[in-house]
Symmetry: C3
Subunit: 328 residues, 3 copies
């Protein structure tokens, strides 16, 4: 599985040409993504925030489940690379009527779209699509099922590297609804690849997935123990809309036990950084005073999200061009 | 109130950096807007209608109530300034789900959006948002509640200046549904600031707001008296969808008394110009022969609307950059 | 009728300035469109697929009936010409509320839109709009009622010319639901103008329109006879959603009699090309093995669709500019 994904995500020269999952990517590639994103952060600080890297190319957002936030960041990233952007909401689009996914894909390829950003409720959908597209076309996973959300994980890694330092010195805790989080899996994988000193998850037993054994991770049920000596605290959004069958007693009780408040944050190192993939539930998994406080990097994460997506889109486009040798 | 708004709309050098309301702006600033818009009208007459003033910058349309017409003109204005445009329909968007307005704003700022165009049903919403945004970010009011619609008023002023001459020589009548019109308030304010000789409103008592005392305006109930010696006739759209409780006896009777027909138009000066913010109700507040006649400037207003919005967007962007001293 | 359309589609120098119908256009103009499209196919093969021909101009998609596929191809074509694109879904848009079509048009013209792409369920709608727009503004028909879909027909002609050779040597068969197909009429007209050796339609009597006498076309009811010696097979989509009153016994029976399968395809010349306007109904009018087989050009058609629309948009824009003599 890991080997197969490595094959499909990297071209014959070992360059990134799809971005589907962190599985099968090594520290060198992830570091290259972070380095490239760093350079786009500098671009984002200029008043002219665009570069002509993808001028005349078409990026298609293929969203099989709605996500305004993720689609907006990919759309902005593509526009700042000067690409033309098509946004297809497949769940409601007539494009899909009486036409299979593969036929829709073939049609979009025939229109000259060379980059697909895919969001789908089913695990592995982006990987499936990447196996089907013709050479020269890159696929980027914008979140699939509970499987992974690798661009979110990479922006989190960028945040950590810029604000907490080298991974090998860091203890990182991920707190809350691990079970429903496609982000958490990708984060743990990324932290393992990048060599974080220690990765911890803190959650009630009902919000832990059964297959955590595959990861190099320590499990805690108490904030006081789990946050001890931690450099980075990553809070997860409580996916209230997905909670069926009373996995938690009440939001109030969840907040008291697992909410990040000034008090629980004090268990971590004094200068620990606080992250959250957003959108935040104030007073549910995080206190407003912490979300808006000096240790919070929640809004930095949003900025870095544009830069990371610019990096991944431009690297995949370049990887496809390099592998086929075609030039404009 | 006026003083406070002056502070927030102007930077430390007295340059426009938000555009929320005409209150607190003086004749010099309004004239600068009109002069800048004049230069963009020249751009609009070329076959290449775009300029690179906002290249690489992001303009976000934040529409809390739908308005295809206003959003389209702002979108075109932004594109002709070469900006990247995000259009968020907040009333239906998932962006707002489980997230406060402020958190949505902070996220969009973090994505690098430096200009917000805000439309909201509540009076003062744009002003509230302008108080909340970080330095460097400009807010433009695209209509808030019954309060104001200042870009519409400015395009009306541009129309008057280009076609009827200097404000100090002009008598202007605003006719119809003043009560429900956010445009009328902004128009009266603008005309007062720019020194129009006389501003009149003509309406049945039921369509007059109670607080007209605050404005320098004369009130008429008869077209024959109100339009006498008038240089400019501004008709308002009868907001039929907002008429509850029978404020007018019938559309037919309203048209007979307050409709602008060739006959009622003859009360005004022979070369009086006719304006309407659109969309027009033919045969309700204005006769087709007048709307399409030689004195009508209704379509010129639409063209000038793009130029005025380009002027305001570019001036606000420049005002924010100047005040913080940041350059790309 | 034909003479009138010729007048409106060509400027005083005989150049294309609207594209509404193939009626009234001659072989020279159609050949010029195909030659121009050929040059844009070369552009589409570069990695930078855009050209600055319409930079600073605004193309408005006026879609009175939804069509994601056609709108997407026009949007991409306009963007690759570097135009600004407005897409108005008039069926749902507030623009049309309380406002006539003509007033909407006048407003969009006043905003500086110089190219309208019109899709409407009523035959002749695009032609009507072209009669109403002011000089300088071009109208392109993206499908009107059962009348015509001329850009689709032109991309089909481009496909034939590139892959089957000179029209005068070709026998072309159009198969299936002729009755409901706006494409079929335009294809037959185009093939007649371009001098195809023979144009055939193959369909059950219930799916043939009553007015085919006006065209130079041979009618067949059997695939075995109709496809004999044919160079080009154009399959039509079975418009199942429009089939009321049991025009065909069943899809299964239709497929057995009129479906294009390896067996029925063998009636045509050995190297006959296979085309379909899409989206295809696999197993209804065409077998998957044929749709995906070596004779199929279905995806090439999609690519050529972008190039043909770029050609038509740029030629119409140029034709309008030339006729009025205005230059930017």
């Amino acid at each position: 599985m890991e080997h197969e994904q490595k094959n499909i995500q990297l071209n014959s020269r070992g360059q990134l040409c799809h971005f589907l999952s962190l599985n099968g990517l090594d520290r060198k590639i992830l570091t290259e993504i972070l380095d490239t994103a760093d350079s786009f952060i500098k671009v984002g600080e200029r008043s002219v925030k665009s570069v002509p890297l993808l001028r005349g190319r078409t990026v298609t957002n293929l969203f099989f489940e709605p996500s305004t936030r993720t689609r907006t960041t990919f759309e902005l990233a593509a526009k700042r690379l000067s690409a033309d952007v098509l946004s297809l909401d497949i769940s409601t689009s007539a494009t899909s009527k009486g036409e299979s996914l593969l036929d829709t894909l073939r049609n979009l390829e025939a229109m000259g779209s060379e980059l697909f950003v895919v969001r789908h409720a089913d695990s592995g959908a982006a990987h499936f699509i990447a196996e089907q597209v013709t050479p020269n076309v890159a696929v980027v996973n914008a979140g699939d099922g509970r499987h992974s959300h690798p661009t979110q994980a990479m922006l989190d890694m960028l945040t950590i590297r810029r604000h907490a330092g080298a991974f090998e010195n860091l203890k990182v805790a991920i707190v809350g609804d691990i079970l429903h989080s496609r982000v958490a899996r990708s984060q743990i994988t990324a932290l393992n690849i990048l060599g974080a000193d220690e990765v911890r998850v803190i959650a009630p037993g009902t919000l832990l997935p059964s297959n955590l054994d595959a990861f190099d991770v320590k499990i805690y049920n108490q904030m006081s123990e789990g946050l001890k000596d931690v450099d980075v605290v990553i809070m997860l959004r409580l996916q209230r809309e997905r909670m069926k069958g009373a996995l938690i007693p009440s939001e109030r009780e969840f907040y008291q036990t697992y909410g990040l408040t000034p008090q629980t944050l004090s268990y971590a190192k004094p200068n620990a950084i606080v992250m959250h993939p957003g959108p935040i539930n104030r007073g549910v998994e995080i206190a407003s005073s912490v979300a808006d406080g000096p240790q919070s990097l929640i809004l930095n994460q949003v900025s870095y999200g544009i830069a990371v997506r610019m990096a991944i889109l431009s690297m995949c486009a370049s990887g496809q061009t390099q592998s086929t040798g075609s030039q404009g």
